[in-house]
């Protein structure tokens, strides 16, 4: 009945119990607040079952923030361990616990923060920028979101019931195989990533179809905002890379569940095939994360330079080049694992090549700023921080593309510093840039500028302190994922500096939270009444702040790039002829299917096979019920539209 789930699964050490009590407390607090303010009904009707991509986007970002908090906590734990676990001291974490921490940290940050904010921002911004009202498949959008939530939930649940994986965020076999990790940890990892991954794949299909097929009249591909091009590039990568992840995780699951020999050491298995396949997915994955961030910068830099984007066509070609090249570099993640010189040379050269279109984009942004009337406000500050951090990281990446160099620094802290420069400097800074830029659009008021600056400076200083020492440590020979080292290495001072960096990052995040609270308090003062908070160029600024659920009363028509800028210059106001708007009906079915997916995952983790079968049957039943439902859309009447439009003019 309970498979291998016993009461032992609930036994944890003090630190894990502390985390569990905090999680449970947070959940109870949330439930308490919802109950106290009597908003369960509203919460369900206006958020949980909503198919509005703006709502779904905000929910993605909210969940990602929660997971960011957890991931940062893991980071802090690692820094603290490594700063003090020297010589005679072994720090405060056991080796096994430390391994779970770095595994959880990587898994959380990549899948549940990075992918979450990516899908959040694309949901929020892309449909408006192409003059659409929704994505191609609104129901699928909701389903994808809830699959993402189930994945995140499984990671968190592992803290309370059982344990998480200790095999690293990519879980190489044979360590992740049944022989060396028979417990539930790796299975939790597999199912949280697999379920969230299927959500991502479905979103990739969804957004790709949206961009290809739902652009408003006149918006040819070469008139789309660069953020939409970047999203398109990322979605093409999702569509063609995630199936590899699905297949590879499935094969690892079969090894662990039914005794196949794909990646085992016996029976003819070949663990290197896992490594090969997982990175064939893994490399496109990192470009999936970064391309939308590039897109965000392409939107922000022109606005804050008060000058048109330099080199639109080359930006587009750079994105296309990056998409192609992403698929031919993956071996650089395992140069040291046995391939001969010809293979290493090929992939090394391809890796060097992929730096070129990225570099071109950076030049284009800087040329946009050149001779512009630059406004050094928070969004632009994040961009400048990105340039410094990301370019540094990028250069170290090119260094590592040279296989002989990589042989020295592979899996050292030099590598860790490199990819954190890319992810934090690129994805995180890009997100914060977009967050401060688009915040007024969805809230109706601007963020406090001063606190925004303080947050940025703390993050910049914090990042530099946390990661520059790691480059040095890597070159000094420090391997990644160490939970202890000898005093003779002389590494400790640098680890202490790195620890101070995390402190500044936490201060930076505190400023961001404070900024939200203060801005909310001052929202009347900082209100955005026109919908065009920054004198924008793209279509999302043509809507009120916040936009009505249908975005446009009448679908816009576009005659060139920077469509909204052109509209403002034309100044002509065509009288608007309203027609009923076809909208999807909200539904909870996405949530229900995801809950059954949870049953499948949890059931297979704990060998409660009856539960897994219930899950599969439930998913099929829900799908059939949904397909049989012919009443999934409705029309917003002209009267209703007039009422909403009139209300915002008041």
């Amino acid at each position: 009945m309970f498979g291998r789930l016993t009461l032992d699964a609930f036994k944890h050490d003090a630190i894990e119990m502390g985390a569990n009590y905090s999680m449970i407390f947070a959940v109870l607090l949330a439930i308490g607040l919802l109950t106290y303010f009597r908003v369960w009904g509203r919460f369900w009707r206006e958020w949980v079952i909503s198919l509005d991509p703006k709502k779904i986007g905000l929910m993605y970002i909210f969940v990602s923030f929660i997971m960011l908090f957890k991931g940062l906590f893991d980071a802090g734990m690692m820094r603290a361990q490594q700063a003090f676990s020297v010589g005679a001291s072994h720090g405060y974490l056991t080796s096994d616990h430390f391994q779970q921490v770095f595994t959880a940290h990587g898994t959380t940050m990549i899948f549940f923060v990075g992918m979450g904010i990516l899908f959040g921002v694309v949901n929020l911004i892309m449909p408006m920028q192409i003059g659409a009202r929704d994505v191609a498949f609104p129901f699928l959008n909701s389903l994808s979101f809830y699959l993402f939530v189930v994945g995140a939930f499984l990671v968190n649940l592992s803290l309370l019931v059982g344990e998480f994986s200790a095999a690293g965020w990519v879980a190489y076999p044979p360590l992740s195989g049944l022989q060396y990790n028979p417990g539930v940890g790796v299975d939790y990892w597999i199912w949280s990533v697999q379920i969230a991954g299927i959500g991502s794949l479905l979103s990739g299909v969804n957004f790709l179809v949206t961009i290809f097929k739902m652009r408003c009249p006149g918006m040819t591909l070469m008139r789309m905002p660069v953020f939409v091009w970047a999203s398109l590039g990322a979605m093409i990568l999702v569509v063609f890379a995630f199936p590899i992840l699905t297949a590879t995780l499935a094969m690892l699951t079969l090894d662990r569940l039914i005794g196949t020999h794909f990646f085992t050491l016996t029976g003819g298995g070949n663990p290197m095939m896992y490594i090969n396949l997982i990175w064939a997915w893994g490399h496109p994955e990192v470009y999936i994360l970064i391309l939308p961030a590039f897109g965000i910068f392409s939107e922000v830099v022109p606005i804050f330079s008060r000058k048109r984007l330099f080199g639109y066509a080359s930006m587009v070609w750079a994105i296309i080049a990056i998409v192609f090249l992403s698929f031919v570099v993956w071996l650089h993640h395992f140069f040291t694992m046995g391939a001969g010189a010809s293979v290493n040379a090929f992939f090394g050269i391809m890796t060097m090549l992929i730096a070129v279109p990225t570099g071109a984009k950076i030049f284009n942004w800087l040329f946009t700023m050149y001779e512009g009337r630059v406004r050094f406000e928070t969004p632009l500050l994040w961009f400048l921080g990105f340039v410094i951090v990301f370019v540094t990281g990028g250069m170290t990446g090119v260094m590592m593309s040279i296989a002989p160099v990589d042989f020295q620094v592979h899996n050292s802290l030099y590598l860790i510093a490199h990819f954190h420069s890319m992810v934090i400097g690129g994805v995180v800074f890009g997100f914060f840039c977009g967050f401060s830029y688009w915040f007024p659009k969805f809230s109706g008021f601007k963020l406090d500028e001063r606190l925004g600056r303080y947050a940025y400076y703390c993050w910049m200083l914090g990042f530099m302190l946390a990661f520059m020492p790691l480059y040095v440590l890597g070159l000094m020979g420090a391997t990644r994922r160490l939970d202890h080292y000898d005093a003779e290495t002389g590494w400790q001072p640098l680890f202490l500096v790195a620890l101070s960096g995390i402190v500044f990052i936490i201060i930076g995040m505190s400023f961001q939270i404070l900024q939200l609270l203060v801005s909310f308090r001052d929202r009347k003062k900082n209100a955005d009444l026109t919908g065009d908070a920054w004198n924008g160029r793209t279509l999302e600024w043509a809507t009120p702040s916040p936009p009505p659920f249908y975005n446009w009363p009448v679908t816009p028509e576009v005659y060139g790039r920077d469509a909204f800028w052109a509209m403002k210059e034309r100044k002509t106001q065509k009288p608007l002829q309203y027609a009923p708007i076809h909208m999807p009906k909200d539904t909870a079915m996405g949530l229900y299917i995801a809950l059954f997916a949870f049953c499948v995952g949890f059931g297979l983790i704990w060998y409660m096979f009856w539960l897994a079968i219930v899950g599969v049957v439930g998913i099929l039943a829900c799908l059939i019920i949904r397909l049989a439902d012919h009443d999934t859309t409705y029309y917003v009447s002209v009267k209703e539209i007039e009422k909403i439009e009139a209300a915002r003019l008041k």
């Binding site: 093409i236 003819g268 001969g340």
Partner: protein, 106 residues
Amino acid sequence: MEQYHGSIKTAVIGFFWSIVLTFAAYLLVVEEWLHGPVLVIALISLAIFQLLVQLFFFLHMGHEQKPRWNLIVFLFMALVLLIIVAGSLWIMYNLDYTLMPHDMMH
């Protein structure tokens, strides 16, 4: 957008050629008319031919109106597929070049 469903003629032509190609490949192997790398090339060619026959006659590819997104997406998928399969084979056999063959380890 009108979906092109083809005529009975296209379905029959597609079916006929698929059967011919299937039998050709089958006989090549079972009757041992070819061996070694030549056989491999022949079999792959026959498979690709049948793929094209089925794409054109059953899936009506090439009959869609512009913009031909179906075709473009298919071609890109084929490219990625080729890269992943060929790349994996190249890499995995190259790993055996510098390492001891894994069957010999046990």
